[in-house]
């Protein structure tokens, strides 16, 4: 998969992500109220609005720089644990893309970035976090699944976190009582993946 992007694509992706989080803010807060502190939706919305406010200047940057800057903006505005986690993901993707000079193998770049998120959160697959969506999304991407299939895999993976016991994050304080609830971070991750896949499907037919 080639990793080049024109400004309009960056602006479009920023907008679909912002709109998706805005439309699901209450839903994400409700998921977080069940096993966390109830602010994941508003935190993510604040971060996406901050990115959106910088949209124009971000769109004029080279793609890797734009991605890294979006990550930093998320770190500075989302707060909570989600800020550094999503921020690390994007900052790593940006750095790796820059290093590889646009000849990047995107699944490999994504894998390195996901591993950085795992290190940042000291979490593993199965701990009931956004990693439980990111790893399956990477697997689908690496096996060259179509965009629609990647999105469905993300949604299924998020729903599967309901059966898991939280080992990291605020929900871990609940122990067994975290079982039965979908993880809010996994859910926002699946929502964003789906939005990105749909947008790319419409604007970048494979």
């Amino acid at each position: 998969m080639a990793v080049q992007a024109e400004p309009v694509l960056v602006a479009g992706l920023i907008e679909v992500c912002r709109a998706t989080i805005a439309a699901n803010t209450d839903h994400l807060c409700a998921l977080d109220r069940a096993i966390g502190d109830g602010d994941h939706g508003t935190n993510m919305r604040r971060g996406c609005e901050a990115v959106s406010a910088e949209g124009e200047s971000l769109s004029s940057l080279p793609f890797p720089d734009a991605v890294e800057k979006i990550g930093l903006t998320l770190v500075m505005n989302v707060g909570g644990a989600a800020g550094p986690l999503y921020g690390t993901l994007l900052m790593e993707i940006g750095r790796e893309l820059r290093k590889s000079n646009e000849r990047a193998d995107f699944p490999q770049v994504l894998k390195q970035a996901i591993d950085a998120v795992a290190r940042r959160g000291r979490a593993h697959a199965g701990d009931k976090t956004l990693l439980d969506v990111l790893y399956p999304v990477h697997a689908a991407l690496a096996s060259r699944s179509p965009l629609g299939a990647i999105a469905r895999r993300a949604e299924r993976s998020a729903n599967r976190t309901a059966d898991m016991k939280a080992m990291r994050g605020r929900a871990a304080y609940l122990g067994d009582r975290s079982i039965g609830h979908v993880d809010p971070g996994a859910s926002s991750c699946a929502l964003l993946t789906t939005a990105i896949c749909r947008y790319l499907g419409e604007h970048r037919p494979q």
Partner: protein, 132 residues
């Protein structure tokens, strides 16, 4: 901080601005002002949460060439503190340690230790002895 002290600095990070400020106030009253001290509490809007940018500013404010010990409450505070330390960049990031210690007791005992001119390693070790 002001060049008069080579003592290790202390930073308090809490989800609550009131908790962070209250502990900083307590440390100040108990230990005095020979230890560089700063706090960061709440998210960018001052609501419950933590903010990597705010933590970075607090580390800068409590900066000492002897190093800075950071005390955190719940999960996101630690993750955001790690992020802030990375943003500080080398070589200074190598002189900042997050302590695995109770927030109130850890900060007070670390500040007491720091006020005597102890090294960062000694300050951190003394605070971490309080961990169960």
């Amino acid at each position: 901080m002001n060049g008069k002290t080579a003592n290790v600095g202390i930073v308090i990070v809490s989800h609550s601005p009131l908790v962070a400020r209250g502990i900083a106030d307590m440390v100040r009253q108990m230990v005095g002002d020979c230890v560089p001290l700063a706090w960061s509490g709440g998210n960018v809007h001052g609501e419950l949460g933590t903010d990597a940018g705010g933590i970075l500013k607090a580390i800068e404010a409590a900066w000492s060439d002897a190093g800075v010990a950071v005390f955190v409450d719940l999960g996101g505070a630690e993750t955001n503190s790690e992020m802030a330390i990375e943003m500080l960049g080398l070589p200074r990031s190598g002189l900042v340690s997050i302590c695995n210690a109770p927030l109130v007791e850890g900060a007070v005992i670390a500040a007491a230790e720091a006020s005597g001119g102890a090294s960062l390693a000694k300050v951190v070790a003394t605070a971490e002895e309080l961990s169960p």
